[in-house]
């Protein structure tokens, strides 16, 4: 118990500090950014680096597990302490998160006060004025008081005006991206995220630099999704047929979960990705390497990456397991039976057609659920995917290297 309290206090001072001062500082630094003042940016970079130095790494790493082992926190009551952050909120990791945290705790203490008031009054009245004799009546007391009514109307009015104003100020910050923000396009599709960088490169995870704000321009290919990064206190819906946008500026390098918050069907709860915040100066290097994976890797290896990034992995397994679509294991070169009763051998042309226009031939027993990839993949990528599927075939894998263990979980391909 004591340990958890200690953690609470630590993260409170770490995450929020003296809040009004922190808010002012952040507001100033935003103004600097907008004005293009390099000194402000440099200050912030230095601050981020310093923060990075003392930051606790994301609890996924082995350090966190060591911590668990050392402290022996195996009981259920205590995992909050390992998970970082305060009792109510995870560790904040963006420049605007403290607006939310500050207001969250302000409302929390206001609510706690009024709730305690209600319960204490209720209990005291219950004890003081309990009916001692079944025939006893109430003492004389007034049944209305305009002064009291106005008092308990006026006080809540003042409080909610304050809460509204604080929420509004934070919201305007969250919704107003700095003009120098780095732009990344986000596309949602059942049940996969696509992050398109300015180079045209598409990744399944959101890699971002730490030294500049990032603006996300988002849309959906099917139903409404919602991008939710708890550590950044950020959420915005992805609506098909229009663009929505949001922005953030990460303050600590590391990996943070990114979730879909708007219910979107069967696999809604596995529509997950990572936000990878790179150390200062490392993002550009990562982007360059990642953008050139088609040139640097063999077709089979490139195909494996595409399999993860283009959403194939959500519905097609690599080991024969039946998912939403047929498995890729031993798919190539085998006869396929279609829903209309016809059959064909799965050759390169069949695979190509199935990727680009999936509804042309539906494999018997599977729902026609796959979105068409016509126009989304260039020739090299189609060839790489086909080479990868071929490599999974026991009979036809002679020209391909044997596949390593596939990892279905969204994991970054490059370390930050």
């Amino acid at each position: 118990m004591r340990r958890r309290l200690a953690t609470d206090r630590y993260s409170y001072s770490h995450g929020q500090g003296t809040l009004p001062a922190a808010m002012k500082r952040e507001a100033l630094s935003h103004n600097d950014t907008r004005g293009g003042d390099t000194r402000g940016g440099a200050d912030r970079r230095a601050a981020s680096a310093a923060q990075a130095a003392r930051a606790v790494p994301a609890s996924r790493g082995s350090e966190a597990c060591d911590l668990r082992r050392q402290t022996g926190l195996f009981a259920w009551g205590l995992p909050l302490a390992q998970a970082g952050g305060s009792f109510w909120l995870p560790d904040p990791a963006s420049t605007t998160a403290h607006y939310t945290d500050y207001l969250f705790y302000a409302i929390f203490y206001i609510s706690a006060f009024f709730f305690a008031l209600i319960v204490v009054l209720m209990t005291v009245f219950l004890i003081l004025y309990r009916r001692r004799d079944s025939r006893s009546k109430a003492d004389k007391a007034p049944s209305h008081s305009t002064v009291l009514e106005l008092f308990w109307t006026f006080v809540p009015v003042c409080i909610v005006i304050y809460i509204f104003a604080a929420g509004f100020i934070g919201y305007m910050e969250m919704r107003t991206a700095p003009p120098d923000a780095y732009e990344i396009r986000v596309t949602g599709q059942k049940w996969k995220w696509f992050f398109t960088y300015p180079t045209g490169y598409v990744d399944e995870n959101l890699h971002v630099p730490i030294d500049r704000p990032v603006r996300l321009v988002m849309t959906s290919r099917d139903v409404i999704h919602s991008l939710f990064i708890p550590a950044f206190r950020l959420k915005m819906d992805l609506v098909p047929g229009r663009y929505t946008s949001t922005w953030f500026h990460a303050v600590r390098p590391g990996e943070y979960p990114l979730l879909c918050a708007e219910y979107c069907g069967d696999n809604h709860s596995s529509m997950l990705a990572e936000v990878v915040v790179h150390e200062p100066g490392r993002f550009e290097k990562w982007l360059e390497e990642a953008s050139n994976f088609m040139k640097n890797l063999s077709p089979v290896e490139a195909g494996r990456i595409l399999y993860q990034r283009q959403g194939c992995a959500q519905c097609h397994s690599l080991d024969g397991t039946r998912k939403v679509g047929p498995s890729f294991k031993n798919a190539y070169g085998e006869p396929v039976r279609f829903a209309d009763g016809t059959t064909a051998v799965a050759d390169e042309n069949y695979l190509r057609e199935s990727i680009l226009v999936p509804d042309a031939k539906i494999v018997a027993g599977y729902p026609p659920q796959m979105p068409p990839y016509q126009g989304l993949l260039d020739e090299d990528k189609i060839a790489a995917l086909i080479a990868f599927i071929k490599s999974l075939s026991d009979a036809h894998a002679d020209e391909a290297t044997p596949p390593a263990d596939a990892d279905e979980a969204p994991a970054p391909d490059a370390s930050p």
Binding site: F125, R131, S134, D237, V239
Partner: protein, 610 residues
């Protein structure tokens, strides 16, 4: 049926046979039939809730004990995170899973989820139907159509509602709507969530049209009840009952009826548009057909936010009655409570956009809706303080309906105050669509409306059935529900604010980073079963009273409102002589009523009643 006796025949025995119930025009019988239907729906919705909670405990109990831990290649010491207690229980399940998949590589472990209670498709159908049944079949008609139907004419001193046939039609429509929902259940289910968000609802292959028609029909049932109540309150008040001599429950029903009549048609139109889009391919909401999915959210919440007040206002009315009666004291601030109901009803129409702060609506719209949302919180606060002031210097008796009323104060306190987090723009962005919202609206809908419904049911039970229930069992049921409800939903606040989204079939992928989700989910599930036990106690208590309860006196609690001035149960025509009120009548002046130990009832006529 003893016509020779001088006592009037009560409404339960006035006519015989099944037809005398199904085609009755008596508001009391219609209320009782509503009660039976709503109770059955509550059981069904409750079983779905237990299925959801049972399902959601399993990832916590099995996490980290899958064979992944034994495969060194994965390199994730995830098993360490698992609580020891869970490890023992889950080993068996994990062993089974390992046997079947031993030959396949580590990748399988990620692809094949552990043996959960439900598949994703089942889970999505179960939470959808839990929500749809609880909202459309239980909570919306709960207090107005079951309790209100029974009590409203009695409280006004009237013989029946203004339009008895419309009242019966409203019940028949409710039954037809319920049949549509059952049809959905048995023909493949519905997986859109009760909110029917487009374009998911226009593209899913589940039974959206059937469910939309069901909700459409239920909407008309609700509108009929609303029209009836408005007309009854305007036209059929007893002679001498001015507006400010009406009981506060009537005021709350009146405010509710206004919302029912004005808001429900919008829901009906919206659901018809969804059905038309699915059937005829009209492009209204689906962007592929040129529609706008966010338009649906505006339409939907234009009804469904005011609907929240359809659900809570009558509950507040019940609490106003109980707190005054069981404190033996005049209600404090009658006019403020009455007008706050009307204020909530009117302001409730202007706040729907607070469900859409992250939908991409403009910043200006967000600001306006947030500001208006806070304006609704003021009338609610006024009511709470007035209830507390009523208890001050009272003579408080903790009988079962009062236990529920105090539980309401506690639970609605939490539900209302956590609404402040969601009305504020910046905090809502983080909390929207997480378990924080789930906890918030269950505290309001379950902790508020359903608890008030149970309180009202116990309060008017002697009047409806003519039997007293066992106080010990009644209080025990209230206590179990109160504790279970807190245990179920309080952990969900923490789950949500720490980042667990709602409507997640499986959260095991989040457990490595959020080991705390495991324990919180298990606590919540334990609470759900305790709540279930509470409901079983309530059923036993009420069933026992029908079987063995002592006959109820006319006025067992000592209230001065008119329904207690006739026999329990009342005769078919409610009052042998229509009550006439003089200028001095006051529904909350209780001092003229004296408790008689021998009969266990209150004797005496309230001041100003001829």
């Amino acid at each position: 049926m003893d016509h020779s006796s001088s006592a009037p025949v009560d409404y339960l025995h006035a006519d015989r046979g099944i037809r005398s119930w199904i085609f009755t025009l008596d508001h009391k019988r219609i209320g009782v039939m509503y009660l039976v239907g709503i109770a059955a729906s509550l059981v069904l919705g409750g079983l779905f809730a237990l299925a959801i909670r049972t399902h959601l405990a399993i990832p916590a109990l099995t996490h980290g004990t899958t064979p992944a831990a034994s495969v060194p290649a994965v390199g994730e010491p995830a098993a360490v995170a698992a609580p020891e207690a869970a490890a023992v229980q889950a080993d068996a399940a994990a062993g089974l899973a390992a046997e079947g998949q031993a030959p396949t590589a580590a990748s399988t472990l990620q692809e094949t989820p552990p043996r959960y209670l439900l598949t994703p498709r089942q889970y999505n159908r179960v939470f959808t139907l839990h929500g749809a049944i609880m909202i459309f079949l239980v909570i919306i008609p709960g207090i107005p159509a079951a309790l209100g139907n029974f009590v409203l004419p009695l409280m006004l001193g009237a013989k029946d509602v203004a339009f008895p046939r419309l009242n019966l039609a409203s019940f028949h429509l409710w039954v037809i709507g319920a049949v549509f929902f059952l049809a959905v259940l048995f023909t493949g289910g519905l997986d859109t969530g009760w909110t029917f968000y487009t374009p998911y609802s226009t593209t899913t292959d589940t039974r959206v049209v059937t469910a939309a028609l069901g909700a459409f029909i239920l909407g008309f049932s609700s509108i009929f009840t609303g029209i009836n109540f408005i007309a009854t309150v305007h036209m059929l008040r007893a002679r001498g009952m001015s507006w400010f001599k009406m009981p506060l429950f009537v005021w709350s029903l009146y405010a509710t009826a206004v919302i029912q009549v004005l808001a429900t048609p919008v829901l009906g139109i919206t659901l018809l548009l969804v059905a038309a889009e699915r059937i005829f391919g009209l492009g209204i909401f689906d962007p592929k057909l040129g529609g706008d999915p966010v338009l649906f959210q505006h339409f939907f919440w234009f009804y469904s936010h005011p609907a929240v007040y359809i659900m809570i206002l009558p509950g507040m009315g019940v609490v106003s009655e109980s707190i005054s009666t069981f404190s033996r004291k005049h209600i404090f601030g009658y006019r403020f409570i009455a007008f706050s109901s009307v204020a909530i009803a009117l302001l409730g129409f202007l706040v729907w956009g607070h469900h859409m702060f992250t939908s991409g609506q403009s910043r200006l719209a967000g600001m306006i809706f947030s500001a208006l949302t806070f304006s609704v919180s003021i009338p609610s606060a006024i009511k709470v303080f007035n209830w507390l002031a009523t208890m001050y210097k009272g003579s408080i008796s903790l009988q079962t309906p009062m236990c529920y009323a105090l539980a309401f104060l506690f639970l609605f306190g939490i539900g209302g105050l956590t609404g402040l987090f969601l009305g504020a723009l910046s905090t809502d962005v983080h909390l929207h669509d997480t378990y924080f919202v789930v906890a918030h609206f269950h505290y309001v809908m379950f902790g508020g409306t359903l608890v008030a419904f149970l309180g009202g049911l116990h309060y008017w039970w002697p009047k409806m059935t003519g039997k007293m229930f066992d106080e010990t069992l009644g209080r025990l049921g209230a206590l179990a529900i109160f504790l279970g409800l807190n245990l179920t939903f309080f952990p969900q606040f923490v789950l949500g604010s720490r980042g667990m989204p709602r409507r997640y079939f499986d959260y095991s992928l989040l457990l490595d980073r959020h080991p705390e989700f495991a324990g919180l989910n298990v606590l919540s599930t334990a609470g759900a079963f305790l709540t279930g036990l509470g409901f079983v106690i309530v059923v036993i208590c009420l069933a026992h009273s029908l079987w063995r309860g002592r006959p109820a006196p006319a006025n067992p609690w000592g209230a001065a409102t008119l329904e207690w001035q006739t026999s329990s149960p009342p005769p078919k025509e409610n009052f042998l002589r229509p009550p006439v009120l003089s200028e001095s009548y006051d529904p909350y002046y209780l001092d003229d009523l004296e408790y008689d130990d021998k009969t266990g009832a209150y004797a005496g006529v309230p001041l100003g009643l001829a």
